[in-house]
C-alpha cells in the first residue's frame, strides 16, 4: 500500500512538474517542441475523425427525420383507416342508393298506393316470424296493411302489418307459422291456402287433386282473399306431395319470392279494406 502510495506521489510530482514547466515556459524551446509533438501526434485523430465524420454527421438530423417520418406514418395510417371506413360507408350508401332507385322505379309501376318503410329490427329468435318497420300510425300505416318486398325486379308479398305504434309498426311475415294467404295457382286459377311454417319455406294446403299442380308453378294472391290485394306474386312451387289415401287434396312446398334475409325496405300498401276488416281494424286501434 505504501509502495503504491509512493508510486502515486512520484507520478503526480513527475506529471505536475512537466505541466508546470509547460505552463511556466510556454515559449521555450522544450515547451514548443512538446506542443508540436502533442499536436502532430493527436491531430491525426481529428483529421481522420473529420474525414469520416460524414458517416455520422447526419446522424442527429437523420434521427430527427426518422422520428418525424414515424409520426407522419402514424398520422397517415390513421387517416387511411378513416378513409377506408368512409369508403366502406360510401360503397354501402351507393349500393343502397341503387337499390332504392330500382325500388322507387318499380313502386311507380305498382297499381297500389302506399309508402316505403325501412326494416329497422329483426329478432333472431323470430327471424321468419316478424320484424319492425320505421313507419307507424303517424305515417298513415294501419293494421292489416299488406307489406310487399321488392326482389329480383318485382314486388312480392312479404306479410301484413300486425301492430301499429305512432313511430313504428310490427310486420307479421307470411313465413310465420300463424300467417296464411289465399293464393291462386297460375294459370288455371285454382285457389289454395298458403301457410307459413316458421322456416324459409311456405306450405300450400287444400289444393284440389285435379289441379294438376306442377313444380315451378307461380302463385299470386287470390281475389277471394280479402286481406291482400289480388294478383300480388307470392312464391313458386318447389315440391308437390302425392295425395294421402285418407285425404282428398294434395299439399306442396312453396318458396316465397321475398327473401327475409336480404330485405331492407318494404312497400306498405294502403287501400280501402272491406267493411268487416276495417271494423276489425278500428277495434284493434
Amino acid at each position: 500500500m505504501s509502495r503504491e502510495k509512493d508510486a502515486a506521489n512520484y507520478a503526480l510530482v513527475f506529471f505536475a512538474v512537466i505541466s508546470v514547466l509547460l505552463l511556466l515556459f510556454p515559449a521555450s524551446k522544450p515547451a514548443h517542441t512538446a506542443r508540436i509533438i502533442v499536436s502532430y501526434s493527436l491531430y491525426p485523430s481529428l483529421h481522420y475523425g473529420a474525414k469520416y465524420a460524414y458517416f455520422v454527421r447526419n446522424v442527429p438530423a437523420n434521427f430527427v427525420a426518422l422520428l418525424e417520418t414515424d409520426q407522419e406514418n402514424r398520422a397517415l395510417k390513421e387517416k387511411l383507416r378513416g378513409l377506408e371506413l368512409r369508403l366502406h360507408e360510401a360503397s354501402a350508401l351507393e349500393e343502397e342508393n341503387a337499390r332504392l332507385t330500382r325500388e322507387m322505379r318499380l313502386s311507380r309501376a305498382l297499381p297500389w298506393a302506399g309508402s316505403w318503410a325501412r326494416v329497422v329490427n329483426k329478432t333472431p329468435s323470430d327471424w321468419y316470424g316478424s320484424f319492425y318497420i320505421n313507419k307507424g300510425s303517424k305515417d298513415g300505416i294501419a293494421v292489416n296493411d299488406a307489406v310487399l318486398g321488392m326482389q329480383e325486379g318485382r314486388a312480392a308479398l312479404a306479410g301484413r302489418v300486425f301492430e301499429v305504434y305512432p313511430e313504428f309498426s310490427k310486420v307479421l311475415l307470411l313465413t310465420n307459422a300463424a300467417a296464411s294467404a289465399v293464393c291462386a295457382i297460375a294459370p288455371a286459377g285454382f285457389e289454395a291456402l298458403v301457410e307459413g311454417k316458421g322456416t324459409w319455406l311456405l306450405k300450400m294446403n287444400y289444393v284440389p287433386e285435379e289441379a294438376a299442380l306442377a313444380e315451378g308453378a307461380e302463385l299470386v294472391t287470390a281475389p277471394g282473399g280479402l286481406l291482400f290485394p289480388a294478383g300480388v306474386p307470392v312464391g313458386r312451387v318447389t315440391k308437390v306431395y302425392p295425395r294421402e289415401s285418407f285425404m282428398n287434396f294434395i299439399t306442396a312446398d312453396v318458396s316465397p319470392h321475398v327473401n327475409v334475409n336480404t330485405l331492407k325496405e318494404v312497400f306498405v300498401v294502403r287501400r280501402a279494406l272491406p267493411r268487416e276488416l276495417a271494423a276489425a281494424r278500428m277495434e284493434q286501434e
Partner: protein, 159 residues
C-alpha cells in the same frame, strides 16, 4: 496489445469529445468527455496509470485549446490523484457517488483551471454559462463513460 487498446481508447475519447462539440452541442453546451474519461480512468485504474491518463487526456484538451498549454494536464493529473485518495474512503463505483463526484470535481477543476489561466495567460477561458451548466452535463456523462471504460477493462484488460 494492451497498450494499443489503451491508446485506441485514449484517441477515441478525445475524438468523441471533439466530434460531439462539433455536431451535437445544445445551446453551445456539451459534456466534457475528456474530463469524464479522466475521471473514469482515475476510478478504474491504479494510481500511476490514473495520473498518467489524467495527464495525457489533459494534454489532449490543451491541444484543442489555445491558452495555457499544460493547464488541463496539471488539472486532470491532480484530479486523478484526488480521486485516488478519495476512493480509498468512498465507493466510487456506484452511480450516485459518480454523479456527486463528477459534479464536485467539475467545478473544482474548472476553478483550478481558471486560476491557472489567469495566473499564466491573463485570460479567463471559461464563460459563466459553461461554468454553471457543464458540471451537470459531466455528471450525466460520467456514468455512461464509466460503463464504456469498465467494459474495456473487463473484456480487454485496458486500464
Amino acid at each position: 496489445m494492451r497498450i494499443l487498446l489503451e491508446l485506441a481508447l485514449y484517441l477515441a475519447t478525445g475524438t468523441a469529445y471533439w466530434w460531439w462539440t462539433q455536431n451535437l452541442t445544445f445551446y453551445g453546451l456539451a459534456p466534457n468527455l475528456i474530463f469524464a474519461g479522466a475521471l473514469c480512468a482515475a476510478i478504474l485504474a491504479g494510481p500511476v496509470k490514473a495520473i498518467a491518463w489524467g495527464f495525457f487526456l489533459g494534454l489532449y484538451a490543451d491541444m484543442l485549446g489555445v491558452s495555457a498549454f499544460g493547464g488541463y494536464a496539471l488539472t486532470y493529473s491532480l484530479m486523478a490523484y484526488a480521486v485516488y485518495v478519495v476512493k480509498r474512503h468512498f465507493d466510487m463505483d456506484s452511480f450516485f457517488s459518480q454523479l456527486v463526484g463528477a459534479l464536485a470535481l467539475s467545478w473544482l477543476s474548472m476553478l483550478f483551471y481558471m486560476g491557472l489561466s489567469l495566473a499564466f495567460a491573463r485570460i479567463n477561458p471559461t464563460g459563466l454559462k459553461i461554468f454553471l451548466a457543464e458540471p451537470f452535463l459531466n455528471a450525466l456523462a460520467v456514468p455512461v463513460v464509466f460503463q464504456v471504460f469498465y467494459l474495456a477493462k473487463r473484456r480487454f484488460g485496458a486500464l
